[in-house]
Subunit: 332 residues, 2 copies
């Protein structure tokens, strides 16, 4: 076989915003596999905000990538060789095999996905880790009751769009925050949110207050910075906050928060989390999300970049909010 | 009876620091009581940081005092008249009867206290609301395990001194933060803390880091501002924070926090609370604290102002950290 693998490796860590120069595209032989392994031809690469944290030596919730190594990332692909009894050629699988066209994976590190009723890419979005992340923050941490007001920012993103729909299904009033009119229109018209406020508007502070006459009972926080600080001032007594991301702060100096006292005044419960902290409940959540999707109760949107070589640019765009819905790279 | 009552009423709300001009001392007749009420001669008045929040129209966790009304506050005193079957003349009682020498109270709003083995003033300190507040934040919210590192600021205050001792009794390493060498010496030598750092020192940032080689697992936060923001950066993964007070911010513009991202990076659990949010467990906690005190396992210190007329000055001192231990006013 003369086909070569293509991989994107981390050449350097960014200071501030990621640039395309932080990555290199290289070619290498397609490796052979050993017992218990499979060779996967990746079809889709998932791009996610957490990736910024991996490109750093700073302390974060997971160890960073090392310079010279293949960039990390979730993938779905097709098994093209197998030395594992668990997988056969042609199986569709999801895993975290990184930014490369072909990957060797241990059979315990990947999972078979059902693509009979849903596109395989959905396993990187609403029924994959973003969907599970949404579920854990909203249902496990915030636990909103019918009639309560839920706010979610990055409301049309891969995580936020699932949060909003799950909260609506629970009978909550849901107010989204998103960047720009097109995203807000989508949040209201397609995701069925009760309101959506554009954080890019100069009137954001007034608009969000006007949209929350009853205050906030549950906040699903993805964005951080000015948006989070503003929302802190609008929390109700005994409100809950799930801190899933602070994407507006990943490339810049830390934001200065002036509404921290709301934690005391309103006796808030705040919890930061990442999806993998407790893996025991992930399969059950994935099953529930799959049923929601198959039954048409979970809408989603994708922004697709084409070709591995465009992954760095697409990641930069994601961190700037240029994507609309789940950001993917189509590899084949 | 020609004796007059003396009361301190709220004349105006402060902007920034409280001044003595915000209060007026007035004389008035001692009121008569109705069925179900008692007349109390107050012996001790408790001064507490929460009082700053009551002197304001701003949203806080409790309704403010109204201009012209008697200032609120916890008290212990002696029943001198009773029209309730629950109390007899001579009973020692605790309640929240405000800044006055004589008070009429409904019998359901006060509780009898046992002063056979402890001074009555302790019922305003380690075995009263400050002690219960310490217990709830530390034991119920933070729930530290043996060997974990607990940090408490305002470590020699009415609440903090109980927090530190309870944490030591649980087998934790306890680092206190206090203002000045005398308080830190007391924290180490009398309260038995493992270390105590002076937040007034120009080396505070370095000193506190050096005192926490294993980071922080549980933070009991009383102070806010620079101290809290610094501690946020030193939290361990899955650490817990009980936010009981932010006393450094009560009289000034909100502090700007730059380490909020630690919530996400370390998946912190943070909860703001006040002692009365759940009253069901208060009697049981008070009983436990009483046993600790009687058995010599709970030390405490008091700063005593003499005479109702000195209460405003003493409250101002408390908010500036000039007290050492529990700040009381002796009324008789």
């Amino acid at each position: 076989m003369t086909t070569l693998n293509q991989q994107i490796i981390v050449k350097s860590f960014p200071t501030g915003w990621i640039t395309e120069d932080n990555f290199s595209l290289i070619s290498s032989p397609i490796p052979s596999i050993k017992n218990g392994q499979v060779l996967i031809k990746n079809d889709w690469l998932s791009l996610d905000p957490y990736m910024r944290g991996r490109l750093s030596n700073a302390k974060s919730y997971a160890k960073g990538v090392e310079i010279g190594q293949v960039m990390v990332g979730g993938t779905v692909g097709t098994v093209i060789e197998s030395l594992s009894p668990k997988f056969k050629v042609g199986d569709q699988v999801a895993g975290s095999t990184g930014w490369q066209l072909y990957a060797v994976a241990e059979d315990i590190a990947i999972r078979k996905i059902d693509t009979s009723k849903v596109p395989s890419s959905a396993h990187l979005g609403p029924i994959g880790m973003p969907g599970v992340t949404a579920w854990k923050g909203l249902i496990v941490i915030c636990d909103p009751k019918p009639g309560e007001t839920v706010v979610v920012d990055a409301a049309t993103g891969a995580v936020g769009s699932v949060v909003g729909q799950l909260a609506k299904a629970r009978g909550c009033r849901v107010v989204g925050i998103a960047g720009g009119k097109a995203k807000c229109d989508y949040a209201i018209n397609e995701l069925n949110l009760d309101a959506c406020i554009d954080h890019k508007s100069p009137n954001f502070q007034d608009d969000i207050k006007a949209a929350l006459p009853q205050g906030i009972d549950c906040l699903y926080e993805n964005v951080g910075g000015m948006v989070f600080d503003t929302l802190l001032s609008l929390m109700n007594p005994f409100a809950r906050i799930a801190v899933c991301g602070l994407v507006s702060e990943y490339n810049v100096e830390p934001y200065s928060y002036t509404n921290v006292r709301s934690i005391l005044i309103n006796r808030l419960k705040i919890q930061g989390f990442i999806v993998n902290d407790d893996q025991s409940n992930i399969p059950g959540i994935m099953k529930s999300l799959y049923e929601e999707l198959v039954n048409g109760r979970l809408k989603y949107k994708e922004t697709i970049a084409h070709g591995l070589e465009n992954a760095p640019k697409a990641l930069i765009g994601l961190l700037k909010g240029e994507n609309f819905g789940k950001q993917l790279v189509k590899l084949s």
